[in-house]
Structure formats: structure tokens, C-alpha cells
């Protein structure tokens, strides 16, 4: 039976088409802004002639102020300032603004309130020497994005969020490069994100690995041990220290926890000491790169995540007065880069869209202030011109308007005579730059609409023709299709296509190899599947003509389409958990109504109860106001005693019930289950031993992996038992990664799947014998299964938001980052913890066709055909959902919530689709492997 491997090959082919389409869409949709590798350069002071123009000889003593003359010449280049300070930049990760506030009247401060009294004290004692501002971050508020934005002074784009774990070198102009270019030196202490982002720029660097999020102290103590010595040295221009403790405390415990109080107290004493030892020519900036939510996460665009703090201190005193120096004034994070470069007598980095903040710079003469402002304006106008040359994102009219108004402002510098003029001028410049910044913010995400459109087309093509194949071709014919040369032809033509494309690429006919391959193979595959549909057109039309589909069948399909269609609405995405449970329960209800006996009704009610129970694990996302404020968002830390008991009980019950029915394979499952339980029990509470618990988890994983290997052993009972075992193994794996507090949700998922299988089994008996084969692979089953699989993503307490990812799943068996394949293992664990449910349901799809052997016995060929059709339909359900997500992302690409709701949903749906495809492949391959092949008659 070689056709069974052809079936699998076809499924792989289909998965490839879908995933390639998604990838292509991602490339177009998640494309970032154009990065220009220009650098800002400035004319050094010595090279300025007395006439205000550049001169090679240069003079030092002139009769009049040469800078003033220089400023009168609007076409001149940027000029370095002559006032040079040093800068100490302390980055306290996740320093939210309200951490820095101090309220004496607060009687019972929370763990994070009133913990930094030094800031309050300094502000009170030396109001002219210190500043405290709200430091507004732009989303996405992940550390890597923020660091990148801070050093370049630009706006981050979403695509960088995905490269958070593989920081790449920055190729744009930035603060550190400016320091180096102005012959200064920079010293780095702390987070190694900086070292990876900007390698080779540091005079000294003490960077430490930053992603051990459960480690609150190592990095901080290391930085502390170095920073005071560094402060005494005078060979640096910029001293950068990045403290991680507060962020990690937030991730691990949330802000309202004694550990956070400890970290903030530490920060307080640290700041006290730094302020004492600060050299007199150095300006201290203490900044947070982003805030955190009430659970200590960040990444999104809520106010709490965006509002960081900036505290500045300079012994010489700062400039500015009036409302500019008000405590808590909002400033943008883009403003840091031009301000810091101004402080070190350099010019703003080329891509910066920020505004030099005079209240954060030492007091200086009017001419120097004007010089900084004009440098700022000139750099921005250069950037506008260059950006207009490189990209058409901003319409030319608008860009020209912005450039003209910038140039007007530059010319106005010479008119500024009095202090009052200067003030209005500063305000004008600020509003102009704010305007420019908002224009860019609006258009920044440059979607590659061509590639998005192509990807949508390819997805549509693949989905449409495969839908015709899955729905149209009669099941009886499927073995013949796969016994023919159809699949080999397809694979060979794809291979030929790829080699042709590669040849073209080799001869440099085009540049983008990946999209060329995806596009050509997608089109060729579409053509081939279309040919198949045409060849079998008679069968398809006959089936559609004869077959009047049942009501439940149509209802199930419309429910699936509804679940895909509502993905264009943000409210439904936010409430998707309820929507999916509602829809799947409705479809099951209609199926049970169609069977119409008491047992089916009971099973349906049981299913409803299971789904209702899993509601308690569903958690909340921030947009769900009531639920969120009511504290429905469970803490991710230790499980309570009751949760532990329930988890242990659920695993024990599942294992005890299941083991009898899977013969010798039961032993492996029992052992894995026991180790899982032991892992939780030993690691629980303050008396638990974390090391032993981790060891037990590793042994449990070993058991699970071994059992997966043993699945290859054939026995005579056919594929049902191995499929059940796969389901149980996925269940145990899910339990392990979900942790004790969420493990019962996995048991509920398993139970709901089991109940549905029983309902489905009854449906098959009810179905008339004539159409038994087609009723076994009816699309309503695939739809129910896909709805359930999607639902249990929510049932396991997940939500499609970046800040809702529970990273603890990676660390339950020890930190894999120390291992040689650490990244691969963490990726795998994360995938299982997020998308374990679609994987589990995908792997058990063949059971829908094979469960319950009461019907007419089927030959292996028809079994395989039924399994194949079901698998294809199940995969199609997920493909349709992903397509709808991609479509909604395209429609809403300028929507307010695109980065908060739609894009994460697309990413998570793509992940779920990939996992479901993988699971389906696994299940189908297992079925093909275990199907008896000697029985050739069917």
C-alpha cells in the first residue's frame, strides 16, 4: 500500500503551502520601517572660521561670537557644541512612574509605593538640580525595542519584537556611535542586550546574560560591584548601567510583592550612593525603559506599560523654568537621544525624531541653546529629505510641507533676540517636532502590500482547491487518487519549480529567493490541485447533486465560518474564549439533537459542564475590564493547596482510567504520570525542594519521549490504541508545561474530547449504512474538533497577547539556556505550553473516523481514505481561521488596536495552525504506520 505514504506526503504538501503562505504574509505585514545607515556628523568647533563658515585653518579668537554668525547662515552644516558634560545613564528596567512618586500621607503604602524616597528628597532639596518626568514609551514595550528606540531616538516597529531573543547588531546611527565619533568613550555595565545590539563600541563592558528572568540579583550585584569604581574614573564620556532586578521581580512576582519592595529599596540606596559619588561634570539620568501591568508583564500599549519614569540630577543645575520643569510632565522617549547627545557635545543620531529637552541640560547661554536647537532641526530636516528619497511611505506633499516648515524654523534662529523670543522659539520647535513625529508614527509600519496580497491569494488558492478535494471527491475514489501518480507528479513539479527558481536566483534575475520560491510553488500546486479537481469533476458534481447535506452539517460549517469571520472584530477576539465555547457547544447540541436520544443528550450536557468548568481557568486579558479589575487574572506563581490537590487528582484519575485500555503502553503512561505528580508534589510550597522537583520533571519528559519512540512498535490491534496513547502523551506533556495550577484544564480538554468522540460514535451508528463511509468523515466532525482545539487554547488560561505569555513553562525543568540546544528546547517547551491543545487535538483527529468499531467493518483502504479526508478537513479549518486572521490584519492595518489585538492574534493563530498541522501529520502518519497492510481487498 504505497498510497498511504502518498496520503501523508499530500498532507505535508498542504501544510507546506499553508505555512509558506503565512510566512510570506508575515514578511509583508510585519515589515519594519526603512532603516537608513546615514550618520549625523558635525563640524568641530576649531574648524569654524570667524565669519561663521567652515574654514580649514580655523581660528580660536574672533572679535564677535562666531556661533552667532554661524547661526545666521541657515544652509550651514551641523556644528558640535563646545560645552561638554559627561553622562551617567542608569537604566532601571521597568521603572514605572508611580514607583518614583512619594506621598507622605499614604498610610499603608503598597509594596511598590514610596520606596524611592531619595528622588523625592532630592527634588525637594534642589529643585533646580533635579527633574522628574513621565517618560512615555512607544509600544511595543519590550526591553529590546525600547533599548533600540532609546539609542536611536526613533520609533520601534513590531517586527523587532519577534527578534527579542536573538538581538542583532544595530546598523543605524545611535547615541553610542555618536559618543565614539566625538572621540569619547562609553562604558557598559549590566544587561547584555546592549552588548549584542552594539558590539565593539565599548571602552569597557561588563555585560551579563539577561534572560534568566527568575534570577533577581546576579546582574544587579555585579553592576553594583563595578559602578562605584567606574564613577571615580574619568576616562568615560557615557557610563551606562542597566539594572534588571525590578523587571525580573515584576515578571516573577508582580509589582505588589515583598520582593519588589526589596528590589526598590535596593535601588533607592543605590541611587543615594550614586548621587553622592557623582562627578561634578556628569549629568545623571535614571530612566525606566517601560512600565509594567498590574501583573508585572509588559509588551503592550496600555498606559501602565507605557509610562516609565525619568529622573535627572546635575550638580551644576539645569536650565528651564515654568511648566517645563513641572514634576511629572510627559516627555517622549525619543527625546532622550538628542538630549544625551547634546549633553556630550555631539549631535542627534541621524534617525532620531526627538526633541532636545533644555530642562534636562545644564544652564547655558542663549547662543548655545540655539545651536542645539538648530542642530536638532537640521538633523531632522536631513532625515526627512533622506527618508523621502528612500521610501514613498509619507506622501511627497506632506513631506515637502514638513521639510519647508523645518527650514523656516531654522531660518528663524537669527531672529531670536530676547529670552522671551527664545522661549516661544523652543515651544515652536517642540510642536513642530511633535508634529513630524506623529506623522511618522502614523505611517510608520510600511506594509508590503504586494507580498501580503500574494500571500492571501496563495492561501486562498490552497484552501479553495483543497476544500473542493476534501468536500467534493467521493471518499471511495480517494484510494485511487493516491494510488495514481498524482502526488509524485506534484512533488516532482514542485521540486522542478524550486530548482528553476534557484537557477534564476543564481543568475541574479531577481533578489528575493524566498518569496519567489513560495510564490512559484504555490501557483504550481494550485494548478495541480485544480487539475485534480477537473479530472474528478464528474464525481464531484455527482456527489454534490445527489447529496443533500444534513442540517447539522451545514450548521457546523457555518459555525466554523462564523468563528473565522468574527476574527475581524476586536471585541470578538477579546472574548474569543466564550465565542468558541458557545459555538462548539451549539454545534454539538445540533448533532446531539440530530441523534436525539437520551444518551447523546447526556453526553452533550457533560460536554457543556466540562466547558463550563474550564471557564474558571480562562483568565482575563486587560481589555476585559470587569474581569480584569475583579482580579480574575490569576497569578502565575505557586499553585494553592487546593489547585495542587486537583491537579494531582486529575492526572491520577486520567492515568488510572486510561491505562487499562491501552495494554502494555499503559505502564509508560503510568510512570510518566507518577513522575509528573511527584514533580509537583515535591516542588510545592516552601518546604519543597526545587532541584529534586526539576529532576523529576526531566525524568517525566524522558518517559514521555521514550513513549513517543515506542509508538513505532507495531501491534496487531490497528491504529486506535496508538492514537489514544498519543493523545494521553500530549496530555501529560501539556500538564507538565502548564504547571500544577493549570494542569486540570488539560484534563478537562481531554475529557471534552472523549465525550465528543462518544457523541460522534453514536452519530455513526445512527447514520444509514449506505453512507457510513462518508458520514465517518463528515466535515461537521472536523469543524467541532477544530473549534474545540481552538477553544482549549483559552481553556488552558492563555490569551493571544504578548504580555500574557507564561514564560514559566520554559523553566519548570530547570533553565534550558545552559544546555547546548537550550534555545531549541525552550522553543519546544514554549510551543507545547501555548499550542499543546491544537497539537493534541490534531494528533487525535483520526480517532474521529476510527473510534467505536460498532459500524460496518471497513477495510484499511477505506479507513485510510476516511482518515485522510478528516485530517485534510481539520487542517483546512485551521487554514481558514488563519486566512481570516490575515485578512482582518490587512483590513485593519491602520486600526487603533492593530498591534494590541489583531497582530498578536495573527501570530498566535499562525502558531496554533502550525501546531495543529504538525499534530495532524503526526496522527495521520501514525495511522498509516499502524494500518495493517496485508489486507489488500477493500
Amino acid at each position: 500500500m504505497k498510497e498511504k505514504w502518498n496520503c501523508i506526503l499530500y498532507l505535508i504538501w498542504f501544510s507546506y503551502l499553508i505555512i509558506a503562505g503565512i510566512l510570506m504574509f508575515g514578511h509583508g505585514f510585519l515589515l519594519s520601517r526603512k532603516t537608513l545607515d546615514d550618520v549625523s556628523q558635525c563640524l568641530s568647533h576649531e574648524n569654524l572660521g570667524c565669519d561663521g563658515h567652515e574654514s580649514l585653518t580655523g581660528t580660536t579668537d574672533c572679535k564677535s561670537d562666531k556661533i552667532e554668525l554661524f547661526l545666521n547662515n541657515p544652509g550651514s552644516p551641523l556644528l558640535c557644541s563646545s560645552l561638554r558634560n559627561r553622562v551617567v545613564l542608569i537604566l532601571v528596567d521597568s521603572l514605572r512612574f508611580d514607583f518614583t512618586e512619594y506621598d507622605e500621607n499614604l498610610e499603608n503604602p503598597l509594596y511598590y509605593q514610596n520606596r524611592l524616597p531619595i528622588i523625592h528628597k532630592t527634588l525637594k532639596k534642589w529643585p533646580e538640580k533635579s527633574r522628574l518626568y513621565r517618560f512615555m514609551a512607544d509600544p511595543p514595550t519590550t526591553t529590546f525595542q525600547r533599548v533600540k528606540a532609546l539609542v536611536t531616538g526613533s520609533l520601534p516597529t513590531f517586527v523587532d519584537a519577534s527578534s527579542n531573543f536573538a538581538a542583532l547588531e544595530l546598523h543605524e546611527d545611535n547615541i553610542i556611535d555618536q559618543v565614539v565619533r566625538s572621540k569619547g568613550h562609553a562604558v557598559l555595565l549590566g544587561d547584555d542586550t546592549w552588548a549584542r545590539l552594539l558590539p565593539g563600541r565599548w571602552l569597557r563592558s561588563h555585560a551579563m546574560y539577561s534572560f534568566h528572568t527568575w534570577d533577581l540579583d546576579t546582574v544587579d550585584t555585579e553592576v553594583d560591584s563595578k559602578i562605584y569604581d567606574e564613577l571615580k574614573k574619568d576616562d568615560w564620556t557615557l557610563l551606562l548601567a542597566h539594572y534588571l532586578g525590578v523587571d525580573h521581580a515584576g515578571h516573577r512576582y508582580g509589582p505588589n510583592h515583598p520582593e519588589m519592595m526589596r528590589k526598590l529599596n535596593e535601588t533607592n540606596s543605590r541611587l543615594e550612593k550614586i548621587i553622592d559619588t557623582l562627578p561634578s561634570d556628569a549629568i545623571l539620568y535614571v530612566i525606566g525603559d517601560h512600565g509594567m501591568t498590574e501583573t508585572g508583564d509588559h509588551g503592550g500599549e496600555t498606559k501602565a506599560e507605557r509610562t516609565a519614569a525619568l529622573f535627572a540630577y546635575y550638580k551644576g543645575g539645569f536650565a528651564g523654568d515654568g511648566s517645563d520643569i513641572e514634576i511629572g510632565r510627559e516627555i517622549q522617549q525619543t527625546d532622550l537621544a538628542p538630549t544625551v547627545t547634546a549633553a556630550i557635545a555631539s549631535v542627534p543620531p541621524a534617525p532620531s525624531l526627538g526633541n532636545v529637552l533644555m530642562p534636562l541640560l545644564p544652564k547655558m547661554s542663549k547662543t548655545n541653546t540655539l545651536l542645539h536647537l538648530s542642530n536638532n532641526l537640521k538633523q531632522i530636516s536631513q532625515y526627512l529629505v533622506r527618508y523621502g528619497e528612500e521610501s514613498q511611505q509619507v506622501s511627497l506633499d506632506r513631506l515637502a510641507e514638513l521639510i519647508n516648515s523645518t527650514r523656516d524654523q531654522i531660518e528663524k534662529t537669527s531672529n531670536v533676540k530676547t529670552e522671551q523670543d527664545l522661549k516661544t522659539y523652543i515651544a515652536d520647535v517642540r510642536s513642530l517636532i511633535d508634529n513630524i513625529r506623529s506623522v511618522f508614527r502614523e505611517v510608520w509600519v510600511e506594509f508590503d502590500s504586494l507580498s501580503m496580497l500574494r500571500a492571501l491569494l496563495l492561501l486562498l488558492l490552497a484552501v479553495f482547491f483543497n476544500w473542493i478535494i476534501a468536500e467534493g471527491i467521493p471518499v471511495e475514489r480517494i484510494p485511487h487518487v493516491f494510488a495514481s501518480s498524482f502526488v509524485p507528479t506534484g512533488v516532482i513539479s514542485n521540486a522542478v519549480c524550486i530548482s528553476l527558481v534557484y537557477t534564476g536566483f543564481y543568475f541574479e534575475l531577481y533578489e528575493d529567493l524566498e518569496s519567489a520560491i513560495i510564490l512559484s510553488t504555490g501557483l504550481v500546486s494550485g494548478a495541480i490541485t485544480c487539475a485534480l479537481a477537473i479530472l474528478h469533476w464528474d464525481g464531484i458534481t455527482q456527489k454534490w447533486y445527489e447529496g443533500r447535506t444534513q442540517f447539522y452539517e451545514r450548521f457546523a460549517r457555518s459555525a466554523l465560518f462564523a468563528s473565522a469571520a468574527v476574527l475581524v472584530s476586536n471585541s470578538y477576539i477579546i472574548e474569543e474564549g466564550s465565542v468558541l465555547s458557545y459555538l462548539s457547544l451549539s454545534v454539538l447540541g445540533v448533532i446531539a439533537w440530530n441523534i436525539s436520544n437520551l444518551k447523546a443528550l447526556g453526553l452533550w450536557a457533560g460536554c457543556g459542564v466540562v466547558l463550563a468548568l474550564s471557564r474558571s481557568y480562562r483568565g482575563c486579558r486587560e481589555e476585559q475590564g470587569d474581569c480584569w479589575t475583579a482580579g480574575g487574572n490569576l497569578p502565575t506563581g505557586q499553585a494553592s493547596r487546593a489547585a495542587l490537590v486537583i491537579a494531582l487528582g486529575s492526572v491520577a484519575a486520567v492515568v488510572a482510567v486510561a491505562r487499562r485500555h491501552v495494554s502494555w503502553r499503559g505502564y509508560g503512561i503510568v510512570i510518566a504520570g507518577i513522575f509528573t505528580c511527584a514533580h509537583w508534589a515535591v516542588g510545592w510550597g516552601s518546604l519543597g525542594s526545587p532541584t529534586r522537583s526539576r529532576l523529576l520533571a526531566r525524568v517525566a519528559w524522558l518517559c514521555i519521549v521514550t513513549m513517543f519512540g515506542l509508538l513505532l512498535k507495531k501491534d496487531r490491534n490497528g491504529p486506535t490504541v496508538p492514537l489514544v496513547v498519543v493523545g494521553l502523551l500530549f496530555y501529560l506533556a501539556n500538564c507538565l508545561v502548564l504547571g500544577a495550577s493549570y494542569a486540570p484544564a488539560a484534563a478537562l480538554a481531554l475529557l471534552s474530547g472523549f465525550l465528543v468522540l462518544n457523541i460522534v460514535g453514536m452519530m455513526k451508528i445512527e447514520g444509514s449504512t449506505k453512507y457510513s463511509l462518508s458520514s465517518r468523515c463528515s466535515s461537521s466532525l472536523a469543524c467541532v474538533w477544530a473549534l474545540l482545539a481552538s477553544y482549549h487554547f483559552y481553556g488552558a488560561g492563555h490569551h493571544p497577547t504578548l504580555s500574557h505569555i507564561r514564560w514559566t513553562a520554559v523553566f519548570h525543568a530547570g533553565d534550558p539556556n545552559y544546555l547546548p540546544f537550550g534555545h531549541a528546547i525552550s522553543f519546544l517547551l514554549m510551543t507545547v505550553s501555548l499550542f499543546g491543545m491544537p497539537m493534541m487535538f490534531g494528533a487525535t483527529v483520526p480517532l474521529l473516523a476510527l473510534w467505536g468499531r460498532n459500524g460496518a467493518p471497513m477495510g484499511p483502504r477505506s479507513q485510510l481514505a476516511a482518515v485522510f479526508t478528516l485530517c485534510l478537513k481539520f487542517a483546512l479549518c485551521f487554514a481558514i481561521r488563519v486566512f481570516s486572521c490575515a485578512l482582518s490584519a490587512t483590513i485593519h492595518c491602520r486600526h487603533l488596536m492593530i498591534w494590541g489585538v489583531f497582530t498578536p492574534k495573527l501570530l498566535f493563530e499562525a502558531g496554533a495552525c502550525a501546531s495543529a498541522l504538525f499534530g495532524t501529520l503526526l496522527g495521520a502518519a501514525l495511522t498509516a504506520w499502524h494500518l495493517p497492510s496485508q489486507n489488500r481487498s477493500s
Partner: protein, 235 residues
């Protein structure tokens, strides 16, 4: 679905017309009094009582002067029958209550709203059936023991019931939307959806009967009658 029995057809039409009139008028009156959004609360119990009375009256009309035999037997069994009927209705109501919660209504709070909705559903779906044909027949109909395709009145009642449940089901669609309107409160959309579904079913019945009688004169109307026949939910 409908057989052309003139007497029954007239009864069906008139009772459907009555429902088409009384339910929208109730909704109109309460919306003009500005208490439309309190229908989910226990204070709106009088609406349910009104519906109960109207349905009861309709069922009396439907089963009146049917034939003398059944009337006589009805009179005989009345005392025990009423108790049984109420017990049955309470059971059905509880089933609706549990079902609604399973579908996603809040488990621990807002039982008042869920209870009101389940009462309404019982009144609009099972109650007319029970009142028309008695508990035993209703149970038989529910579990598919007895076929109803021959009986025009029962067919209409079943159709009404299905569309009512469908309307309540569809009403839930607006709940997740973030419009923050007062009518998105649980269970108002489902409540109004159920009433809407019921009225729609009755409107369709009236339309169909009108078409059928007019089709004798104008043949082309048969086309619409066929379409409407297909639209009716059937197993």
C-alpha cells in the same frame, strides 16, 4: 408542511396574527414607558404573566370546538393534569436554565436574569405545545416518538419553538461587542432575540398562509410558497 385543512388553517392564521400583534405591542408599550431594558429583572415578571395569559388564551382558541370528544376527555382529567403540566413546565424551565448557563451565562451571579430568560423560553416554546396537546404528547413529540408532520397546528407550534430558541441563540451575538449600550446587558439581547424569533415565525406562518390562498388565483406565488417551505427548520 401544512396540509390544506381550511378550519385548521384559519385557526393557525388567526392565532399567528394574534401573536404578531400582542407581542410587538407589549414590547412597544414597555419601550415607550422606558423600561425596555429592565426586562431581564425580576420586576418585569408581569410581562411573563401577560405572555402566559395570552398563550393560554391562544391555546384555548386553537383547541376549541375541535371536536366534542376531546373536549369531554379534557374536562375529565383537568385536576391532575394541571399539576402534572406545571411540574413538567418547571422541569423544562430548569433544563433551559442549566442549558443557558452551559452556553456561557454567568454561573454564580445574575441568576435572576437567567431565570427570567428561561421562563420566557419555556412560555414561548414548550408551554403552547403542552397546553395544546397535553404533557404526554408533548414528551412524545420532544423525543421524536410521535411524528407531527400531519398536524398543522402542532407543526406550527414546533416551528415557533425552534425559531424562538434560534432567536435567543442569535441574540447572544451582540453581547461581546464593546459598544457599552444598555441593551447589551445580560439577558436583554437573548430575551428580545427570543421574542423576535417567535414573532418572525408567526409572521412567516401568516405570510405563507396568505400566499397559499392567493396562489389559487396567481400561480406564480407557488414559487414563494416553495421557498418558504424550504426555509422552515426541519430535521
Amino acid at each position: 408542511m401544512f396540509s390544506l385543512n381550511n378550519l385548521e388553517l384559519r385557526k393557525v392564521t388567526i392565532s399567528s396574527l394574534l401573536s404578531c400583534i400582542y407581542l410587538p405591542s407589549i414590547v412597544t408599550v414597555i419601550s415607550y414607558r422606558g423600561i425596555l431594558y429592565s426586562v431581564g429583572k425580576g420586576s418585569s415578571f408581569y410581562i411573563l404573566v401577560l405572555i402566559f395569559i395570552a398563550e393560554l388564551a391562544k391555546s384555548f382558541y386553537l383547541s376549541s370546538n375541535n371536536d366534542i370528544q376531546s373536549k369531554r376527555s379534557r374536562n375529565k382529567m383537568r385536576a391532575s393534569d394541571i399539576v402534572k403540566t406545571f411540574g413538567f413546565l418547571l422541569g423544562v424551565m430548569f433544563c433551559f436554565f442549566v442549558g443557558i448557563i452551559l452556553f456561557g451565562a454567568p454561573v454564580l451571579d445574575n441568576h435572576e436574569g437567567t431565570l427570567v430568560l428561561s421562563t420566557l423560553l419555556t412560555l414561548l416554546t414548550i408551554f403552547p405545545l403542552v397546553a395544546h396537546s397535553g404533557v404526554e404528547t408533548a414528551v412524545q413529540l420532544l423525543f421524536g416518538v410521535k411524528s407531527f408532520s400531519k398536524d398543522t397546528i402542532v407543526a406550527m407550534l414546533v416551528n415557533n419553538a425552534l425559531l424562538t430558541v434560534g432567536g435567543a441563540w442569535l441574540g447572544a451575538v451582540v453581547i461581546p461587542l464593546d459598544w457599552n449600550t444598555p441593551w447589551q446587558q445580560w439577558p436583554i439581547p437573548c430575551y428580545l432575540g427570543a421574542i423576535g424569533g417567535y414573532v418572525l415565525a408567526n409572521v412567516m406562518t401568516v405570510l405563507k398562509v396568505t400566499m397559499m390562498s392567493a396562489a389559487n388565483k396567481y400561480k406564480f406565488l407557488n414559487f414563494f410558497v416553495n421557498i418558504m417551505n424550504k426555509l422552515h427548520v426541519s430535521k
